[in-house]
């Protein structure tokens, strides 16, 4: 059990002050045995999961009710999405390595793995922007496209844009946390919390690829 997992149990201290006995505050045991900052990240993750769920359900609604939903993704786009999956899942591994090295108090090692993770995130975004530019070059816009249902662009750019915004936020957060950890201002717990966020971004992508790319594959 790590130090962070140890539940706080403070025994009430009784002392006699000028106005009678003084009672120190009694802290309740943590119900989940995790630090409150980690619990907050978990709560953010489940609320964000509902946000992505709502966006994907809205996409399903529009796709289901449109007569001419376009299936535009060429094999090149599919392989590109697979490459992006490989990069994102690999960064989930590198952020775990960052956490392991941080827990071993290897600050240089943890910083290195954190920066590798952030670099993977940047690479992921570059591949995604290339995908966007390719679709825009073919005529896709937010509310019109040459293939069919005009909402296709809004759906595609909204879902992938929301995900890319999360990746960008993760890259910035990991960079800040990595630098601060290296400087000794942050602890391994901070890397653990942002690693949770990063895994969640990875998890969302696991649903975006089949639902947005594979279901709209050109056949």
């Amino acid at each position: 059990m790590s130090q962070a997992d140890v539940a706080i149990q403070t025994v009430p201290v009784h002392s006699v002050g000028d106005h009678g006995p003084v009672h120190a505050p009694v802290m309740e045991e943590r119900p989940f045995a995790i630090p409150s900052s980690k619990l907050v990240m978990w709560l953010f993750i489940i609320s964000d999961a509902c946000t992505f769920g709502a966006v994907l359900f809205a996409y399903g609604y529009l796709r289901n009710s449109a007569a001419d939903w376009p299936r535009v993704f060429e094999p090149a786009s599919i392989w590109n999405s697979l490459l992006m999956t490989f990069i994102l899942v690999s960064t989930s591994l590198t952020v775990l390595l960052a956490l392991k090295t941080a827990q071993a108090e290897d600050r240089a090692g943890a910083f290195r793995w954190t920066m590798i993770t952030a670099a993977g995130g940047v690479l992921f975004m570059l591949l995604h922007i290339r995908e966007w530019l390719s679709l825009i070059g073919q005529g896709a816009r937010l509310f019109q496209n040459p293939w069919g249902a005009p909402m296709f662009g809004a759906v595609f750019f909204s879902i992938t844009g929301l995900h890319m915004a999360h990746v960008l936020a993760g890259v910035i957060a990991l960079t800040v946390v990595g630098l601060s950890y290296k400087a000794g201002r942050y602890a391994a717990l901070h890397i653990e919390i942002w690693a949770l966020y990063w895994h969640f971004v990875d998890l969302v992508w696991m649903f975006v690829v089949p639902l947005v790319y594979l279901l709209n594959m050109k056949r």
Binding site: G60, P210, L214
Partner: protein, 90 residues
């Protein structure tokens, strides 16, 4: 870390299987969702270490989230109604 590498490989293999299934058998929604759900389970339990946390945390997080996501399925009735009306048809 041994199980982590195994899970990492498993998630990547499932991603490749997903693409192969979509190309060869057609991208069925249910096949895609089942494979994505397996990936998500592995990521949450092993990468995010939820399996190592207290059961009370799992109980606090998972059923509520699933409940909200399941309740979102109520939109399908209206979506199928619109299939007949085809509002975006040319």
């Amino acid at each position: 870390m041994g199980s982590t590498y195994f899970v990492y490989a498993a998630i990547l293999v499932i991603a490749v299987v997903q693409v192969i299934v979509a190309i060869t058998m057609g991208p069925s929604l249910w096949r895609m969702l089942v494979l994505a759900a397996i990936q998500a389970y592995l990521a949450v339990m092993f990468f995010m270490h939820l399996r190592d946390e207290k059961p009370s945390l799992r109980l606090a997080l998972i059923p509520g989230t699933l409940f909200v996501l399941i309740m979102m399925n109520m939109i399908w009735a209206d979506s199928f109604r619109l299939m007949v009306m085809k509002p975006f048809a040319k």
